[in-house]
Symmetry: C2
Subunit: 475 residues, 2 copies
């Protein structure tokens, strides 16, 4: 049976989650390995998801007053040394251009691992007066961070992302922007990717190199590990001072601006796969699915079947649905497996007997259930099912996650929790030593502060806890 | 007067076209120089034009059956040596990464100057059978070519572009694709950028390094020079053989595929500026204009003016028009100059006296003429004026260009022609020596073959002409 063959090709999701992931991304043609170690080729099916992600996010960025621009790929190495923490964090991962145009360069150039420095350099030129503020620019770009171990979408030397960089007159405004963009990410993750996320501040140890404070959103994958799906940084005046970003304020005084930066990347595709996928393959939420509906003719040669399929395809396209009619000569069973593996949210099966009865079968990929529906109202049915799938996928992911958030009072509890595939909430005294001890002994890290929750004692030292932390093993 | 100040700031377009260009791109905040020599920052106003260009082109690529993907930035240097002409053409311009992650790389990596090699490498893995053909992939990406002399948009070390790479079973199909995409570019240039273009085959000397044949589209700038605005390459089996792109054909025989590639870049923004701009600044055709209409209140404090402006803005936005209401406290005259310089196609002036009479003034940037229009039907008026501006700009550019295409019989004639700011058509025997002599003596190059035209004798050697060539000085 074709079906069983497919299942065989994908490693067991329960027994070997990493291999399951690798199998799924390769077999669904989302991605392939590039010729240079650690690089990936995002294939059309994967890139179409990215395009949908971009479209949704870009709309939200523009609605919140941001404009897009494009800054250079190459950054003078000397720029990195201007902000002490920043260089420490990024220099070890940088790819360096030393020769160009047949000559050795007088100064080596970094391929951007992130662009705070080059934005800072330009902002210092553009910013003159308080009237020029705020400056709110985003760019969609490739970045490069040389990594030892890589995995498609999750960690590759080159990846695609967006990076917002804003400049404000006051601390309050910059902090408001930081939190607002974190909120934009959360709303997007939940409503478009159907991934519930925990958002909150990161510890000093886990924050962005050069930030005053980093806020992150963490998503639970099906193996119980966490994936940092986006970050928003309040940079205070760190970069403004390093790059001399100043303005003449209303009161006639020259002041340094307050800046922020925030980004999400093609990692989100990895998040999507690991938050929703199952043994049959991908399960893609309708909002970002390259194909939302596949029509599969059953006994295509029988009178009326193909006509009904073409008609359906045309009407769904007109209704704004992304639809594919699979008219290849593969068997229906083969097609079922193929499109299930590709994670298409809905499948419509059009067969001669059902047609006679004025019916079609619709299969939902998220629940793997099928039902009969009237052909006369099928367009409405499809659009409401797509809405239902989107909503139900989020709800199901939320239930899965919430069942796996536990509490612990000591390191043994944290270890047991994360080994059982959970996020673990535990008290923390606030010192770096205790944080590091947890990482050493449990391989879990502090993901974010659990907002609005307090704890009695630190799970490591037993002293009075200052914060409740969400610990997890992470990608 | 503010108006005169503006005009003073921009160099005389008739006397110093290069300086006029530099002034316009800087003052309208389209672009700025990046910190690394030869790089540019595409600022929000410039990037918004690029986004509109992308949207229009991307739609056309998808309608003609192409999918987007993303291939790696870094290419092993050894890939370039696989196609002899290709390496000769591109190696001198390549930027090279030699170190990454704190170590020296075992093989230096090139930042892509173009991606035939890495597409070729992946296509050879993906292509198995004739059933997999055609493969038609496009990517939107940054590329890098280290140039000695640079100019924003026209020639910079890094630029943004799209590159389509396709793979076909037969020579005919690949050639058909090459010509089809040239046609897509031409239609886009004319209908979206309002730039009439001459398309045709390039000479051997001017073709893409590694192509069997290159077809280009050439646009006339206001100084009479030509700008190569896009190219489409028929690559034959050159890259298929170099990268082993093979398939099992229907007849059971392994065959090399036939490939094509085609691209346009942020150069198009330069083309737009130099094809339409005037002494007041930019003139942007409505289809790609970031702002299509600006509303300027006159005597804004008078009753009803701002209300009418807000109402107008809302209605135009609903009608799908990209509109800005300039409610800053600058004077109307200052605003007129500012938005004229920015090339916004239409300006609506809303004043209290006109309002009383049920009228508004609309100014057309392309003709610099204004007229009164009824407020009741102003939305329809605006949408038809936008259509008219788009059409008239193309027509005006066509008239300007056609007046400046002349014929010549000898080198002196070609020299006089190009010095007078013309494209010159002249006969060519087909030999490289004659082509090079023209370049040496006139600084003009063979842009494209004049399709469908024949000449008696070669303008250089006087021997029988094989082709009619369009010569021009070029950017």
């Amino acid at each position: 049976m074709a079906k069983e063959n497919f299942v065989e090709q994908i490693a067991d999701i329960e027994k070997d989650f990493p291999q399951w992931y690798t199998d799924v991304v390769k077999k669904t043609k989302l991605v392939d390995y590039g010729p240079v170690k650690g690089t990936m080729v995002i294939r059309p099916y994967g890139y179409a998801i990215w395009e949908n992600i971009q479209k949704e996010l870009d709309k939200r960025f523009k609605e919140t007053g941001h404009e897009n621009a494009y800054f250079p790929l190459l950054i003078p190495m000397s720029f990195f040394t201007k902000e002490a923490e920043h260089v420490e964090g990024f220099a070890p991962e940088v790819a360096v251009v030393t020769h160009a145009g047949g000559e050795e360069l007088s100064e080596p150039l970094a391929i951007r691992p992130t662009s705070e420095t080059v934005f800072g350099n330009m902002y210092s030129k553009w910013l003159q007066s308080y009237r020029d503020l705020p400056i709110m620019i985003n760019q969609w770009a490739n970045v490069m961070r040389w990594e030892k171990t890589t995995r498609p979408f999750l960690r590759t030397s080159e990846f695609l992302w967006q990076e917002g960089h804003t400049c404000h007159a006051t601390e309050e405004e910059a902090m408001e922007e930081t939190i607002k963009m974190l909120g934009v990410y959360k709303e997007f993750a939940e409503n478009c990717l159907a991934i519930p996320v925990l958002t909150g501040k990161k510890t000093e140890k886990e924050k962005f190199a050069g930030a005053v404070a980093t806020f992150g959103m963490e998503a639970m994958m099906k193996d119980g590990k966490s994936l940092q799906a986006g970050t928003s940084h309040y940079l205070g005046q760190n970069f403004a001072k390093a790059f001399d970003i100043k303005f003449l304020d209303k009161d006639g005084v020259q002041k340094h601006a307050y800046t922020t930066s925030w980004g999400v990347s093609t990692r989100l595709i990895g998040a999507l796969i690991m938050a929703h996928g199952d043994q049959r393959g991908l399960v893609i939420p309708p909002v970002v699915a390259p194909t939302q509906v596949v029509i599969v003719p059953i006994a295509a040669k029988k009178g009326g079947v193909m006509e009904a399929c073409y008609d359906l395809k045309e009407k769904l396209t007109k209704a704004g649905v992304r639809v594919v009619l699979d008219s290849t000569d593969n068997s229906p069973g083969w097609k079922f497996n193929e499109w299930e593996m590709k994670g298409v949210p809905l499948r419509i099966e059009v067969g001669p007997r059902d047609l006679e009865a004025g019916k079609v079968v619709i299969f939902r990929r998220d629940t793997c259930q099928k039902d009969f529906y009237d052909l006369t109202s099928v367009i409405d049915t499809v659009t409401s099912l797509l809405t239902a799938v989107q909503k139900d996928m989020l709800e199901a992911a939320r239930v899965r996650r919430d069942e796996r958030i536990v509490y612990a009072n000591d390191i043994q509890g944290i270890l047991a929790g994360v080994e059982g595939g959970n996020f673990v909430k535990a008290g923390w005294c606030g010192c770096r030593e205790c944080e590091e001890k947890i990482k050493e002994e449990t391989a879990a890290t502090a993901r974010v502060y659990a907002e609005g929750e307090t704890a009695e004692t630190c799970a490591v030292c037993g002293k009075k806890a200052k914060h409740m932390i969400i610990y997890a093993r992470a990608y």
